[in-house]
Symmetry: C2
Subunit: 512 residues, 2 copies
């Protein structure tokens, strides 16, 4: 059959063929996920070299299969049916999303993809060296090359207003710089103000009071308890340890999270565990009967992050949560917690302190780290910022927004791996996740009488059920913007997050 | 280029193409190995269903790639060069072995392979049910079908003397029923005699004296110490836990073993750990620069088993080994070992007791379990035994050779998974492994002054180096028979194993 022909093949047959091809892709993704998980969790050192070769071989096959989705003009025919509104609701979602991703990929020539891959692979070592020594110029030429390629990517993919939009799109489909700018400007102003007030507060905290001796096997059991209690299904997942905590889905019955552990500090593990379990609850809640199709895919990185941040912060750093868990923590580790009241505990797990490092930031300052990165990377991609000026601009913004002085580039502009990996347009999804999370949580509370009373009693099912019904079950049926509207009745509004922070930290820091 | 053409393409180019295709196969094998390892060690329960689908999808691709080895007539051309003696030594081995495996596979039509796969997949559940209930007839029709298919396989593959030879070949290339028969008949007679003497011995043993409380984390550390001490490289491997211990190679830098643990019995883990570490030392010792080609493949299952049995039994149940390790075991677990002398310990880890179950058998009776299976499966394949008579014949042989009465088929003819999986011709490699192991160990002792003195001092490197130089480094360069000759200067002789058993157990049981 000639490519693009729309005759003779019934829609259902074509759709079944698409599903069969997608299921092959899913097998590849599954294998690649396992290779990745194993690499980060259990692979012995000397396995690395050939593992990398196996990994890229499989990634190559995955790409090949992806291209072959359109073999015999399948996607063209289905696109035609989609445009003629001849597909049913589920088929519409699947075809719409597959075609969207496919069209983007098709615009990137193999040669470009290869050059990008080689460039970031080469850049990685230089970034590491630069970060270690603090010498930005070691990394600078590689970063310039990466930025040039990302600009080229935006040109190839196409965009309406800003080239940055083309880079945002794969992480947060539909989001644009023009939407983010006022959102983040407003948020920045609020956060800088709130931070000023907090800095003036006379409240003193001492999280070091939590330090002690916490045997790792008992920490692991406690973290498993926490994850299981909020709803993580251990029959369909695992919790292991890795340097950088992450969540990965092998298949719908096998969603794995990792956490990190410190024998001196049990709280070092709880937040990452809740964060990753939050991601995992989303993955475990996607409709598994549609596995392999966009109907069982997460909407966007921002929506994914809303699930992790909701459980990590809005729940995991709240008084109701610890009303339930603190007695358990005390019982397991009477030293030091036996002598610390719940009030003191709550007061001291919620410390706001501007710092240099994003991944160590508290709820209030975290988004400022993101906004700085957004402003800079948007400037880099639009050409308003010269890569050579990066350290200067970075340090200025850290001074201005957070009030901290960057002593060297290693803990400044070089701290994150993202740009060295070509991840531009990724950072904003972290902040969006925070904004979404507060709006979702507010909606869940509105819809669910005594939600926090239930949490105090260790019943997390009401919250999880709300998330299951309003977020997880939809897969990629809606765009992020539409999902927010469907779930909360409103478009995304930063007011929910601002209100959440203002109320919580006014109490903690006794602000007027 | 027409298939089979030998013109125009230089040998080296063709050989490089073959190596490139083999390296693709290696990536697939690597992934399949990881999927398998993970399934047995860490996969959560609900991951099983889709994991099975991913596994067969990958296995299908591996098979497809295997068939494509000959694309463009590559193998035909290389076979021609091989037959004309135009290949260098390494090329000769690679082409000879690839062509050998390829030819065998090619003789099995896709339809046959599929029917076999489906039959054993279906049979598995019935075997499990039959084993549980002891009802042979539940499994009988499936076993009959499998035997019929194995006969058909032998016919398709071809053979000279016995159809059984065609089934032995993939596990122990070059071995035949005609060679095994006198070997096993001689061994059986010797073992039955030795067993009779041991039964009459007045020596009394009590391995229950070793029972106690052994925390699992300390057991794991001890097993890691033992494996590392004999030479297992933990930078290029792992030791985990699984129901059935196994060794699996992801790639040459990543060879994984598992063991099993019992909190009441630390010795429950040591033997399996030594057994699997023995397999792993072989895998870690194969020449990694040739990975993916037969130059880095093990010779046969029998040779592989010789490495595991050598470390498990000839070393791991010997006095020199425990002269070194017993003080460490005593120090780690003073209860109960503080009160048990090394002599008593040695005496009681070497108990000979005829039993029903192969995998629990001691060194003396183990091969009788194998010989029974060999005699039966050879009879089944050659048509001399009717599958319906299996339980009767099984029970008769157990009575005759081992002197034990089989109370039900679950612990009798249904105990092993092998036949239900279509593994006919596999069992003899276990006994061959024992025979090889004693001959290798004797040669190593001959060639290495003070080998056992070194072991007493915890220096296992002399033995490992001998194995590395005489077995491991050769990959699949030699056939098993030639390797035995190369390494020991003689053909395979059961006398070494008989002598080893006779000397060891005459002392332990004070036989005349």
């Amino acid at each position: 059959m000639p490519k693009g022909s729309t005759q003779k093949v019934p829609i259902q047959t074509d759709f079944d063929t698409l599903k069969a091809r997608l299921s092959e892709l899913a097998h590849f993704s599954s294998v690649i996920a396992l290779l990745d998980w194993d690499k980060q969790v259990y692979m012995p050192k000397h396995g690395a070299e050939l593992r990398a070769a196996t990994f890229s071989y499989l990634a190559g096959l995955l790409h090949q299969r992806f291209v072959e989705l359109d073999a015999d003009g399948l996607l063209e025919r289905l696109r035609h049916e989609l445009n003629q509104n001849k597909l049913d609701a589920d088929q519409t979602v699947v075809v719409r999303e597959v075609v969207r991703t496919f069209d983007r990929e098709k615009k990137l020539p193999q040669k470009f993809v290869q050059e990008m891959a080689e460039t970031v692979a080469r850049a990685h070592g230089f970034w590491e060296e630069a970060k270690k020594s603090g010498k930005f110029q070691i990394f600078a030429p590689h970063l310039e090359k990466i930025i040039a390629l990302k600009k080229e990517e935006a040109r190839l993919v196409g965009y309406k207003d800003s080239p940055y939009d083309a880079l945002l799109d794969p992480y947060e489909p539909g989001m644009t710089a023009a939407q983010l700018e006022p959102l983040f400007a407003d948020l920045r102003e609020f956060l800088v103000e709130l931070l000023k007030k907090i800095k003036k507060s006379k409240v003193r905290q001492n999280p070091k009071m939590f330090f002690g001796n916490f045997p790792l096997d008992r920490q692991r059991k406690l973290n498993e308890l926490v994850a299981a209690k909020i709803g993580f299904n251990f029959s369909a997942g695992r919790l292991d340890e890795s340097t950088h905590p992450f969540t990965i889905t092998i298949n719908p019955g096998d969603v794995r999270v990792t956490s990190r552990f410190n024998p001196r500090d049990v709280l070092y593990s709880i937040s990452p565990t809740l964060h990753e379990a939050g991601h995992a609850l989303y993955e475990q809640g996607l409709p598994s009967e549609h596995f392999g199709t966009p109907l069982a895919d997460p909407v966007s990185l921002g929506i994914h992050e809303s699930q992790s941040r909701l459980w990590e912060n809005l729940v995991g750093l709240s008084l109701p949560f610890w009303k339930y868990f603190y007695p358990k923590l005390r019982k397991e580790f009477p030293k030091p917690f036996g002598k610390i009241s719940l009030g003191d505990f709550y007061q001291n797990i919620n410390v706001v302190k501007p710092s240099l490092i994003r991944i160590e930031a508290d709820e209030v300052t975290y988004n400022l780290h993101i906004i700085i990165r957004f402003e800079i990377e948007k400037g880099l991609i639009e050409g308003a910022i010269n890569p050579a000026d990066l350290p200067k601009i970075w340090n200025q913004k850290y001074k201005e927004y957070l009030g901290v002085t960057v002593p060297n580039n290693g803990v400044g502009v070089l701290q994150d791996v993202h740009w060295s990996s070509g991840l531009f347009g990724y950072f904003p999804t972290y902040a969006l996740g925070n904004l979404y999370s507060a709006q979702f949580y507010a909606a869940a509370k509105d819809a669910t009488p005594n939600l926090e009373k239930a949490i105090e009693k260790g019943d997390f099912s009401k919250l999880l059920n709300w998330l299951r019904r309003n977020i997880h079950v939809h897969g990629r049926r809606f765009s992020a913007a539409d999902l927010v509207r469907e779930a909360t009745g409103e478009k995304l509004k930063p007011e929910y997050y601002k209100k959440y922070l203002a109320e919580k930290y006014s109490k903690i820091y006794r602000l007027e």
